[in-house]
Amino acid sequence: MKSFEYSAPNTIEEAIESLGNRWGETEIMAGGTDLVTSLKQRITAPQRVVSLKNISTLREIHESSDLIQIGAMTTLADLSNHSTIQKHFPSLVEAARSISSPQILNAGTLGGDLCQRPRCWYFRNGYGLLAQNGGKSLIPAGDNRYHAIFGNDGPAYFVSASSLGPPLIALGASVSVVGADGKSRQIALDDFFRIPKSESERETSLKPNEILTAIHIPLSGLNNSVYEIRHRHGLDWPYATAAVAFKLSGSKASDVRIVLGHVAPTPWLASKAGKSLEGAEVTMSSAAHCAQSATQGAKTLSGNAYKVPMVKTSVKRAILIAAGIQMKG
């Protein structure tokens, strides 16, 4: 990696001051599990790296009767071991634990998981976020087996790498962001992610000199779960995931939110699928029906059609798990 200046300020204000206002000039470092790889791969070659590790407030978890606020620097291990989170959000615990490498769980943070850069192999091989070669995307005619089936009208084809984004969005989470003026703004997590339109944009609505400080999740008694389709059990990303959250009254579901992971440049809200289950009784067949509608609008590339049945299966299984229905076979 290219040599850089390193700073580890004690306050958010100082951290913001050390950040430049152009992407790539400076980079924020949380646990470093993704950033250090990016530096080595020269995905970015900043002049300065600003570590957040000394800002202790960013590690705090606060609870009130209707909300839990998780500091962005909370490690994935601490997140998954927290008793309130375990009690209310099995989907988060499952998504974090499925990352499964103890090293990554202990070093990686929740903020880092949401802000991690895509794993797109063209991106990681130096062709840029939009994987262009001579002004043309390499993805449609290239090896796109791990690329998007939703939100892929271009120019972005990568998939969001975050496994925690989908369950958090399903749970209605929002994030706090502190910007150059030192003020904090709150945005729905769903709006935090976005699909870049040009090489100068990134995958979130953060500006280069903004810091994600906390994640807020309402405690609204939703049944929730994720189902991840993974091949290898450790040190790997899922092929597709589905996160669901709904209120269960008797066996009827309401406030249904279904969010797909690893199939689009952002966590992907399957709103039609959510609607199809809204007010319905949760059964094998309604789950299957809902799962089917989650695949609507998928646009497959030459090598990723298999993700469509995976979406179907993961949505169906996630719904059944959330409703506590035993799966057959």
Partner: protein, 711 residues
């Protein structure tokens, strides 16, 4: 006098026992020094300058920016490459040595290379690119054989290029001191590592010292010093400072060797009773810029009366192939076993019964029958087996799959010097290497057994080219070569010692034996002398004897042999809604003649199973057709199996007189041959449809199911 022949079963004190690796503690605690761990005062780090493009010409290589980059001590470019042809990404164009690793990396990137880029060709799965020379082998009359059949099964199968992915990358640390060259490489070939380096570096072989005590994997890719090894030595000479050059992981995966792919179209003719009549194969694949050959088709069932096999290589703009553990065997096993099992499924015949029914078409029917029975018992074949696709209902299907394999494994030429010192200490010196297989331990066991001493009493010195020469560790030849050489050396040293001891015990040397730390009269064991007391009779002279393994002679005398067989059965589950294949269990039954150390032998098989499972489920070197860049030259998407991915592994080694009387036979290659074939057959058995190409990733499984599965 002691007889060098291997001791009989009842007479063995160490051979065949379960003995832990002697160097295990060093490896586990981290005190073992690998090439990268050699840190000398004034050390420089070197990085390669490599081609960013897969095909084209080099117009110019400009070093000026690199030379002025901070910390840089030497920059070298391959003059021959200017105007030369680029054939793959990662091709070596030069090297840079600097004070720190980061500075070297930085400087290497500052070497400005001017290319004339051409469109590369990296695709290998399509036969239209197979323009290489066709090799054709025929026996019997294929048309007649297919006509004779009641059923002809047709199929397409294939497996991609994979790499060796040694955990320790290729490379070395080198230093030139007083005109002599000292090298610490990672190599499978200590005695001959430096061959070919002398001219390039300008230091004769007699002044070149190779030292490799520990190895992090080679699998056939680390026989030579390679261009980067030579470069590292040259940079050390030029700068007068020690230099370390080990490949970065991405470069390692691209240029340090790979295993050729193999794809093909097959026809198998069988009768309704399961008898195979004909086998036709049209096979192609790539060894990158290297050669291509798939010699072993049909595999194992070699005596099928009518066969026609054509193979053609595809030259692609990828790094060149190298021997990969059992060259061409895993590919030929996958292709053959898939085609045969598909034929059995077509006539609704149980696979085990089918493989048995045709066993006379193999060259070791009795060995395979015995092994098939043991393997079937161990996996619970009777209870678990079902015809293809006829398993239990539900979305998760379970299935079993079988594969058979063979290998040579004749010990290589090797020498050993055995010294018995007056203080009773014993040292064996062999210019061999321990790839992590247990070579060091095996030598200690053989010497300890021969001299009646515990293994702790034996000092084994290996890993240096100053020791008596030994062969490269490739082709499962090390255990036979080193065990025989050390047996011969220690027997002859012992006999010399017995001659000296005999007068003191008042008997002739013929009447003596060395057992349990004493030298004693065979017929009257109480007439004995302690080992150390016996050795003190040497006075001031160390007794040194050389043992030489001559392959033909040793084979004739029963020290070593060649040609083993093995059987493996896999038990898998396939989730037909997600395409995920899960390993439940894998059983390996393996013959390797006389086993020196049961524990390291079993470990060798466990390791092979894990490597084989990895190739079946995950591994594939993926190249972008447009740019020729390897897309997964990292350890995230070049996937290897982890501990949770491998299921329960069971190993059964064949023992008993019939096997042991053959002498020692190598074991490195055979157990890695069958796993992928067995697993592919198990997946077909489970979900009712053949997933034609490896690795068996969920996308391929779902695709196969959609095209014709039962789900």
């Amino acid at each position: 006098m002691a007889d060098a022949k291997w001791p009989k079963a009842g007479d063995r004190s160490l051979i065949g026992k379960r003995i832990s690796r002697l160097d295990g503690p060093e490896k586990v605690t981290g005190s073992a020094q690998y090439a990268y761990d050699v840190n000398l005062p004034g050390l420089l780090y070197a990085k390669l300058v490599t081609s960013a493009h897969a095909k084209g010409k080099i117009i110019a290589i400009d070093l000026s920016d690199a030379e002025s980059s901070s910390g840089v001590k030497a920059v070298w470019k391959d003059e021959g490459m200017v105007g030369g042809e680029i054939r793959y990404v990662g091709q070596v164009l030069g090297a840079v040595a600097a004070e720190t690793e980061e500075q070297a990396t930085e400087a290497a990137l500052k070497v400005n290379v001017d290319y004339e880029v051409q469109q590369p060709q990296v695709v290998d799965s399509d036969s239209q690119f197979a323009t290489g020379r066709e090799s054709k082998r025929e026996s019997g009359d294929i048309e007649a054989g297919l006509k004779e059949a009641d059923v002809v099964a047709e199929g397409k199968y294939g497996l991609p290029v994979i790499t060796h992915c040694c955990l320790e990358p290729h490379g070395q640390t080198a230093e030139v001191r007083d005109g002599e060259l000292y090298i610490w490489p990672s190599t499978q070939n200590v005695s001959r590592y430096a061959d070919g380096m002398d001219d390039a570096v300008g230091i004769p072989r007699s002044k070149t010292h190779v030292d490799c005590q520990y190895m992090g994997g080679g699998f056939g890719s680390k026989f030579g010093s390679d261009k980067w090894g030579t470069l590292c030595s040259q940079l050390a000479k030029e700068t007068g400072r020690p230099v370390k050059l080990l490949l970065d992981r991405n470069i390692e995966l691209m240029i340090a060797g790979n295993r050729p792919s193999a794809y093909g179209e097959f026809k198998v003719g069988i009768k309704n009773d399961g008898t195979i009549t004909a086998f036709q194969a049209n096979v192609w694949g790539t060894g990158g810029v290297g050669g291509y050959g798939m010699r072993w088709l049909p595999y194992i069932y070699e005596k099928i009366p009518h066969t026609l096999v054509t193979t053609r290589g595809i030259r692609t703009n990828r790094g060149g192939q190298r021997a990969w553990r059992a060259p061409a065997h895993p590919q030929c096993a996958l292709l053959t076993m898939s085609a045969l099992e598909d034929a059995a499924a077509k006539i609704k015949m149980d696979a085990l019964e089918f493989f048995r029914h045709n066993i006379q078409l193999t060259d070791k029917p009795d060995v395979y029958l015995e092994e098939l029975e043991i393997a079937a018992d161990l996996i619970g074949y009777k209870e678990k087996s079902h015809l293809r696709g006829e398993g239990t209902p539900g979305s998760v299907k379970r299935g079993l799959g079988i594969s058979l394999h063979r290998w040579g494994g004749l010990g290589h030429p090797s020498e050993c010097d055995l010294s018995i010192n007056p203080d009773g200490s014993v040292t064996a010196e062999i210019g061999t290497q321990d790839l992590g297989t247990g070579a060091r331990t095996v030598i200690a066991i053989v010497v300890g057994e021969t001299l009646g001493l515990p293994i702790e009493a034996i000092t084994v010195r290996i890993g240096r080219n100053s020791y008596p020469a030994s062969g490269a560790s490739g082709g499962s030849t090390t255990v036979g070569g080193t065990s025989t050489a050390s047996r011969l050396a220690s027997t002859s040293a012992l006999n010399e010692l017995l001659k000296i001891v005999a007068p003191h015990l008042g008997v002739s040397a013929d009447a003596l034996e060395a057992k349990q730390g004493v030298i004693r009269e065979i017929n009257q064991p109480t007439n004995a002398i302690q080992w150390t007391d016996a050795c003190s009779l040497l006075g001031t002279n160390t007794l040194v004897k050389r043992g030489v393994n001559d392959r033909n002679e040793s084979r004739a005398k029963g020290f070593i042999d060649s040609n083993v067989g093995g059987v493996q059965i896999a038990d898998v589950s396939v989730d037909t809604e997600t395409g995920i294949v899960t390993m439940n269990q894998m059983v390996a039954v393996q013959d390797c003649g006389l086993i020196i150390d049961m524990k390291t032998a079993e470990s060798q098989v466990f390791g092979a199973l894990i490597m084989g499972i990895t190739s079946a489920l995950y591994e594939e070197a993926l190249y972008d057709a447009e740019t020729g860049v390897m897309l997964n030259a990292d350890m995230e998407f070049y996937r290897l199996a982890g501990i949770k991915d491998i299921g329960n592994l069971k190993v059964h080694m064949m023992t008993g007189k019939k096997y042991e009387d053959r002498g020692v036979i190598g074991l490195g290659e055979p157990p890695v041959i069958s796993p992928a074939a067995a697993i592919s057959n198990a997946v077909a058995n489970a979900c009712g449809v053949r997933v034609p190409y490896l690795p068996l990733t969920p996308d391929r499984v779902l695709d196969a199911l959609e095209k014709g599965g039962i789900a």
